[in-house]
């Protein structure tokens, strides 16, 4: 037997790591620190930043527009995650019980591959008040044109619906992949015992899918909080500020009004929320791993 000497690959290792460490330091570490610093300054891109203590945070907590953006974001997240998760669970179950077709799965993945900007444009056209296909359909059954993007009550459900359309297939495929891990004999056994599809879903699929479902839910939540592209293309935060989500609020503060310090404070706030969600995700990731191993 050959015993290998304790190796020390120090020199090689740092060379292997060099590009990633440079990328990390320059574009993650440094900007993260700088972001925290801006949040306690009055920086506006033209001045030299001066320390103002917690002023930005105090202003933020008193800013109605900020609270509106939090409220609007929460509304979006509820609409989007609720519909998307339920639909995805349904579609995944259908696929799991019906077919293993790769063709079908690829088709479901299609909207996920398309840029949100394209999806926004596409639905702006489909939902156009005068010429859009959907309003033509509504007209055909005697319903009046709906201003999907221009009506204050409709705007947010419309945006949420568009993103549900775009991400449900992807989410369904993740859940489906989780379902494939469930041993087939459980279903065969239940079927011999005379259990129907609904009982198998409640008794086998749902409980065994739970770790995967929880993980997918958190990942979708994190993504949902960061909705921007669709809104930037379709409603631009309007009508009034019915769709001015937190990401758009930060974007406006930073790049329209150049209140960089203020925007950074709002970003810290959002980062805290997402940080907690990510920490939960990491926990679940470990949990689901040990479950399936």
């Amino acid at each position: 037997m050959i015993t290998t000497k304790p190796r020390d690959d120090r020199r090689a290792a740092w060379l292997f790591l060099l590009p990633v460490l440079v990328g990390f330091a320059v574009f993650y570490g440094y900007p993260a620190a700088r972001g925290v610093w801006y949040s306690v300054t009055d920086y506006n891109m033209l001045n030299t930043a001066t320390y103002v203590g917690a002023e930005n945070y105090a202003k933020l907590l008193a800013d109605e527009a900020f609270w509106n953006s939090m409220k609007v974001t929460a509304w979006y997240v509820v609409l989007n995650i609720g519909s998307q998760t339920l639909l995805a669970l349904g579609i995944a179950t259908l696929m799991h019980r019906l077919t293993r077709s790769v063709m079908l799965r690829a088709t479901l993945l299609l909207p996920w591959l398309v840029p949100n900007v394209t999806i926004g444009l596409l639905w702006m056209w489909l939902l156009d008040t005068n010429l859009g296909f959907v309003n033509q359909l509504l007209h055909a059954v005697g319903l009046g044109p709906v201003g999907f993007f221009t009506d204050e009550t409709w705007a947010m459900p419309t945006v949420a619906g568009i993103n549900t359309w775009a991400y449900t297939g992807y989410t369904a495929l993740l859940l489906y992949a989780g379902m494939l891990q469930i041993p087939q004999y459980l279903y065969e056994g239940a079927s011999i015992d005379g259990a129907g599809e609904w009982r198998m879903f409640r008794g086998i699929t749902l409980p065994l899918l739970r770790p995967v479902l929880a993980l997918v839910l958190v990942v979708s939540l994190i993504g949902s909080f960061q909705i921007f592209d669709t809104i930037a293309v379709t409603t631009k935060g309007g009508p009034v500020s019915a769709t001015q989500v937190i990401y758009y609020f930060i974007y406006l503060q930073a790049f329209k009004y150049f209140h960089l310090g203020y925007a950074a404070a709002a970003a810290v706030f959002l980062a805290l929320i997402l940080g907690v969600l990510t920490a939960i995700q990491m926990r679940l990731l470990r949990a689901s791993r040990s479950d399936l191993a």
Partner: protein, 294 residues
Amino acid sequence: MTRRTFNPGRALAWVAMTVVIVVTVFPFWWMIRTALTPAADIYTDNASLLPEHPTMINFLRVLGLTSEAEARAAGGSGAHLNFAGYLWNSIVYCGLIAGVQTLFCAMAGYAFARLRFPGRDLVFAIVIAALMVPPIFTLLPNFILVKDLGWMNTMAGMVAPTILMTPFAVFFLRQFFLSLPRDVEEAAILDGNGPWGIFWRIALPMSRGPLITIGLTTTVWAWKDYLWPLLVGRDEENRLVTVALGVFLQQSPNTQPDWTGLMAASTLSVLPVLLLLVFVGKRLVQSLNFTGSK
């Protein structure tokens, strides 16, 4: 197992599945159908599945292949459009990010999985902690950094934040390298290979699957990028397809958007990923099994 002749539940399930497929695909059909419609027909011909007078003019004009007068006659606003160029920019952008990032992250993932050096686990933990920092948080400072470097409106500025690494790719590839059997590598050490030789000649060729997976996923995300390239790459010369679509919409009159042109441009932005789906769809679909849940 016996096959039941007719099961109403199953039939109903297939009906539901068909509805799902139609709802998924129809908007794309409508996009292409509109792109093939002459702009003048948009008020009269917008309810049938096929256009009455199909035309390629909308594609030609957004690709910048017609004269300005022709484009205007076909419903354009007169603003110059060059989607051939924007598509090329997007392809370069995605190719650079996916290729370089995958290689660098593989190197780092390998070092974290296999090489022995002091501080390894600590450095890894710090890099992975970056997963918790949301993009918007680093976006503002990165914008200022790129501005200070004088990289505004350059490809360098656009790819800079993501070309070297993303924490997820490092994490994902390290996990994979940890699962590779060690014997082959040990044999190679005995043959006198250093870490570099083992990485290139053994570890990389053995990890083609995961490398393609992470490369494809990165390509798709890069193709969809909007906010960052909008901030640092607005100039015509480096404009990506997504940014160009946004600009095109803005230039188009609010009261009567140039829908046929917009849908032609949208179709072009979908075409490359559609090709990706046709050629590597199976791989993409299967990759969801392990980037997603496991």
